[in-house]
């Protein structure tokens, strides 16, 4: 059912620009207004979500560890697995963000005849995830060429490496192929494994369908139907320079692509895709494991009224003196 709903949603999303641009000719709406609105929503949504998370109190220091904590000098410790300070926390966080280290340790359990429970490494998910994320990053960097005026050396190097094999014309970008394969795998995984299918929601399928359709419309435009790239850049520069223009030579496929991308960035802050920002705010990963060295104050702690002995003595000094009790201070 969740597959059906997300398929329905994506079909509607594809039909909107087909009707809006192909039928009604609202090119300015789909080329300028919607992308601006989506980008605005993206920025506001991200700021809102991050600040919301940042305001959440952290009552306990709940760092996840899987190594020996730093304690006595003669006990061997694992700095990366139980980071003793913020430097090692940053190291662990970057290995998480850049290499998906904890996903690399993913394991899978299988019931073999016997019955025997067998555990094995589940590295395919890590491979699919890392292929997808890095392809997406490279594609994003490549797309910057549509928005900046003079050619940037960095983008040129990235695109040059990406088209290293010089297959076909326009030259095949390796990441275009990789992202399609990776997304197909990530989707099939949810279809084919009964356990995963059971826990998959529409919010899991929908981003995959959306990303797949964006990649498919983009690659179709580049390799098959083709598009006047100068017109695309005129639109992109207009958007980035705040003097939007709609060139004539934009195909319907381009409007579908840009509408799906607008949908993605508008949807981004309110979906599971926010793990991009959320990873940095995970309390189990962004704190050092220094519970025994530094006291963590719970912001929820109620204010405790204390009455120290000095105050007690001040209060009852006269009475105590008269009763002949020993005093710390005679005054």
């Amino acid at each position: 059912m969740s597959i059906f709903y997300s398929l329905l949603a994506i079909t509607v999303l594809i039909l909107i620009p087909i009707v809006g641009v192909g039928g009604l000719g609202w090119r300015y709406l789909f080329g300028v207004i919607i992308p601006y609105a989506a980008f605005g929503l993206f920025i506001i949504g991200i700021i809102y979500r991050i600040l919301l998370w940042a305001k959440v109190p952290v009552p306990f220091k709940i760092t996840t560890t899987c190594g020996q904590q730093k304690s006595l000098p003669w006990i061997k410790n694992s700095k990366l697995e139980a980071p003793p300070n913020s430097f090692w926390t940053a190291m662990r966080m970057s290995s998480e963000v850049l290499f998906f280290r904890s996903l690399f340790r993913n394991s899978k359990a299988q019931l073999k005849p016997g019955p025997k429970l067998v555990y094995g490494s589940g590295i395919l998910l890590w491979l699919g995830a890392i292929c997808f994320h890095y392809s997406f990053l490279v594609i994003l960097i490549r797309h910057f060429r549509f928005f900046i005026g003079p050619t940037s050396k960095f983008i040129e190097i990235v695109s040059g490496l990406d088209s290293f094999f010089q297959i076909g014309l326009p030259i095949l970008y390796i990441t275009d192929l990789v992202i399609l394969i990776a997304l197909t795998y990530l989707l099939l995984r949810r279809f084919l494994s009964p356990q995963l299918k059971y826990i998959s929601l529409a919010a899991d399928y929908f981003p995959l369908f959306l990303l797949l359709c964006i990649a498919l419309s983009g690659t179709t435009m580049r390799y098959f139907t083709r598009i006047d790239i100068v017109a695309v850049k005129e639109l992109g520069m207009g958007l980035a320079g705040f003097h939007p223009v709609i060139p004539d030579n934009l195909s319907l496929m381009f409007f579908i692509h840009i509408f799906l991308v607008s949908s993605l960035i508008a949807y981004f802050p309110f979906s599971k895709l926010m793990h991009m920002g959320g990873i940095f705010l995970s309390p189990t990963r962004n704190m050092a494991n220094d519970n025994r060295k530094r006291r963590h104050i719970n912001p929820w702690n109620p204010k405790v009224e204390v009455h120290t002995y000095e105050e007690y003595e001040d209060e009852f000094r006269e009475v105590m003196k008269n009763a002949g009790l020993p005093l710390e201070k005679e005054e």
Binding site: A54, I148, G149, G168, D228, V230, V232, H243, F280, L281
Partner: protein, 125 residues
């Protein structure tokens, strides 16, 4: 807010990164540039309509390259006319200036075709 400073700093860096094109265009002031490829005057007909050429000239050149280099067919019929399948001898008759024609759009759109890695680049005066 725990680590408020760090979180806000990270947020600002992220926002600067994703709006990079805006700052880049403000800094270089080139966002209104439009390419204007020059063709020799007096020519009205191309091997294919302008719109097709704009989007797919690289496919045409790729097919021509295969025809000539792999199948030894140096001439081909397009719309009832015989053309020599050659970039330098046919296309560049009208689109004569690489710098003022090819490079105009290629540089604008950050496209780096590898035509001139094998062919000798035409000399411009």
């Amino acid at each position: 807010m725990y680590n408020g400073g760090k979180i806000i700093l990270g947020l600002i860096i992220f926002l600067l990164l994703i709006t990079l094109p805006v700052w880049f265009n403000i800094a270089t002031g080139t966002s209104k540039y439009k390419p204007n490829p020059k063709i020799l005057p007096g020519q009205t007909e191309c091997v294919a309509p302008a719109n097709y050429m704009r989007t797919s000239h690289m496919r045409l050149l790729d097919e021509w390259r295969d025809e000539v280099v792999r199948h030894q067919r140096r001439y081909g019929e397009i719309n009832g006319k015989i053309y020599e399948l050659s970039l330098s001898n046919t296309c560049m008759k009208c689109h004569s200036n690489k710098k003022e024609f090819c490079d105009e759009c290629h540089n604008f759109a950050d496209v780096n075709p590898y035509c001139w890695e094998c062919h000798i680049e035409p000399k411009e005066k």
